[in-house]
């Protein structure tokens, strides 16, 4: 579904991604894992067209990223991306204009589930509520691809649980693909199907989570310690 073909991304002299080739399969939850600066967010930005590859190409359903492809992608950025004047309902009304897969019923349900109110001014709510608001907009669509960039970063444990619950609540296994970047592996270990470990812009380990655990006889957290702690490449 999402293909990286020999993708290199440079910011000045820094290589954020170094000749990456991989396929992210349809209908799975894939974790892009790694420490800060490993290239996780850059990969997400390339899929959303926020960044362009320096070399190679990124394909969605075997086509280069286009306006048509963007119709099927829901994106949750790590940073706050709302306009300061927006209330939650303003953000909703704005976003829903562009997507045919917007599900108003799902929005209303999630609004209650996440304990948010459409009249809340985004500028005035807490960081956790803003994280929930971003999640609300991403999951109120029946998008084929959902990209979540560090959705758990800096969020308290109760909100994290709520976010993960939301992720799996209406997940359409086999149809919908979720790509999540995080270094909070413990919280998402039981949710993800595939894991891709990145370090210094290169893939150091990837595969089916169950298989990786069985092969190495380690949990994902321990695997990560192995990969990054020892600087060892598998």
């Amino acid at each position: 579904m999402i293909q990286f073909k020999n993708v290199t991304k440079k910011y000045g002299k820094t290589r954020a991604l170094d000749d990456i080739s991989l396929d992210i399969g349809k209908g799975k939850i894939t974790g892009l894992l790694g420490p800060n600066g490993s290239g996780k967010t850059t990969m997400i930005k390339l899929i959303t067209d926020l960044n362009k590859p320096s070399l190679g190409e990124v394909l969605i359903n075997r086509e280069p990223i286009s306006q048509e492809a963007k119709k099927h992608i829901a994106y949750l950025p790590e940073i706050d991306h709302f306009y300061p004047w927006m209330k939650i309902k303003d953000a909703k009304n704005f976003v829903k204009t562009f997507y045919e897969d917007w599900d108003e019923k799902m929005y209303e349900e999630l609004l209650g589930f996440l304990e948010l109110d459409g009249n809340m001014s985004i500028k005035k709510i807490s960081k956790g509520q803003r994280a929930k608001a971003k999640l609300l907009l991403a999951f109120s669509r029946r998008a084929d691809i959902i990209l979540l960039d560090e959705p758990l970063s800096g969020i308290d444990i109760f909100t994290r649980e709520k976010i993960i619950e939301t992720m799996i609540k209406d997940y359409r296994e086999g149809e919908q693909s979720i790509v999540i970047t995080t270094h909070e592996i413990k919280e998402i270990e039981h949710v993800i199907d595939d894991a891709i470990f990145l370090n210094h812009g290169k893939i150091v380990l990837q595969g089916d989570v169950e298989q990786l655990r069985a092969e190495k006889n380690l949990s994902l957290v321990d695997l990560m310690k192995e990969v990054y702690g020892n600087g060892k490449e598998f």
Binding site: L50, Q67, I73, Y75, Y83, W85, F94, T97, F98, E100
Partner: protein, 273 residues
């Protein structure tokens, strides 16, 4: 159901108008404040400026307000980067055409609103502070140049206003172009924006001179374009005839379209976060 282009453009336009709302209110407060000051001074004190001086000050406020709109148009593009809202805009299934057309419409809306209210306030204050005799003198002056035909000169003013509007739109498009070029560089982005804006104006001025020689209009009725010495920031004309006016409009529209599509191409193909 397929979302229509119009509904997407409308959503973008509303969003851009909301982004300009606070500064529009500040601009109007500024205009209102100056006009209130002028009115108060003339009505209550023996000021050295006198009624005419304050009248000129009041009229200058209209141009000041339009200049503020122009300056702030740079901010409408750069704030998308500064406030991280580009994370919301760039992943949308729309191209640069919709994004920049909506921004242009929003700025023109702001221009009409701020410029229109400023003008109405200024005219109101002028009407109150100038003696009836002075107002008659102004109308006599307008009528004098065309052999007493006041309506003829008023028509020239309407033509100038129309051409000024097109020139102003063109100027905003160039602001977009230079801002997008500036954003292609991570360092010295603001400086590059400024240099590109100046250079594009110079390029247009040179092209204008060249075309002017080719078309060879009568010097008394020639068109002055953006950036040309004496042309001013928004362009002006000097009692143009219909062919010259049409030529001026056509040239400005073509130039604006070229810069507009160059902007959207760069935005779609080259610009990154």
């Amino acid at each position: 159901m397929e979302k229509s282009f119009n509904s997407k453009l409308w959503a973008m336009y509303k969003k851009d108008v909301m982004n300009l709302k606070t500064e529009s209110i500040f601009m109007l407060a500024f205009v209102l404040g100056i006009n209130a000051y002028v009115y108060y001074q003339v009505m209550t004190s023996d000021s050295p400026l006198g009624a005419s001086g304050y009248g000129i000050l009041s009229a200058m406020v209209v141009f000041g307000a339009l200049f503020l709109v122009f300056i702030r148009s740079f901010g409408l593009v750069s704030s998308e980067w500064k406030d991280n809202t580009l994370h919301m805009i760039m992943p949308l299934p729309i191209g640069g055409n919709t994004i920049f057309f909506s921004k242009l419409l929003a700025i023109l809306t702001q221009t009409f609103m701020v410029g229109g209210i400023s003008l109405a306030l200024t005219l109101g204050v002028l009407y109150r502070i100038l003696e009836l005799e002075n107002i008659q003198q102004i109308f006599n002056f307008l009528a004098m140049d065309s052999g007493g035909l006041l309506s003829s000169n008023l028509m020239e003013i309407v033509k100038m206003a129309g051409y000024g509007f097109i020139s102003f739109s063109s100027l905003i498009v160039m602001v977009f172009f230079s801002s997008v070029v500036g954003r292609m560089f991570t360092k010295l982005s603001g400086f590059i924006t400024f240099v590109v804006f100046i250079l594009s104006n110079v390029l247009i001025a040179q092209t204008t001179r060249l075309l002017d020689r080719v078309v060879n209009f009568d010097q008394g009725s020639r068109v002055m374009f953006l950036g040309e010495p004496g042309g001013g920031m928004t362009g002006s004309m000097n009692f143009m005839g219909t062919p010259e006016l049409l030529f001026g409009i056509a040239f400005t529209v073509v130039i604006s379209l070229v810069f507009f599509f160059a902007t959207t191409y760069l935005y779609d193909q080259k610009v990154e976060l």
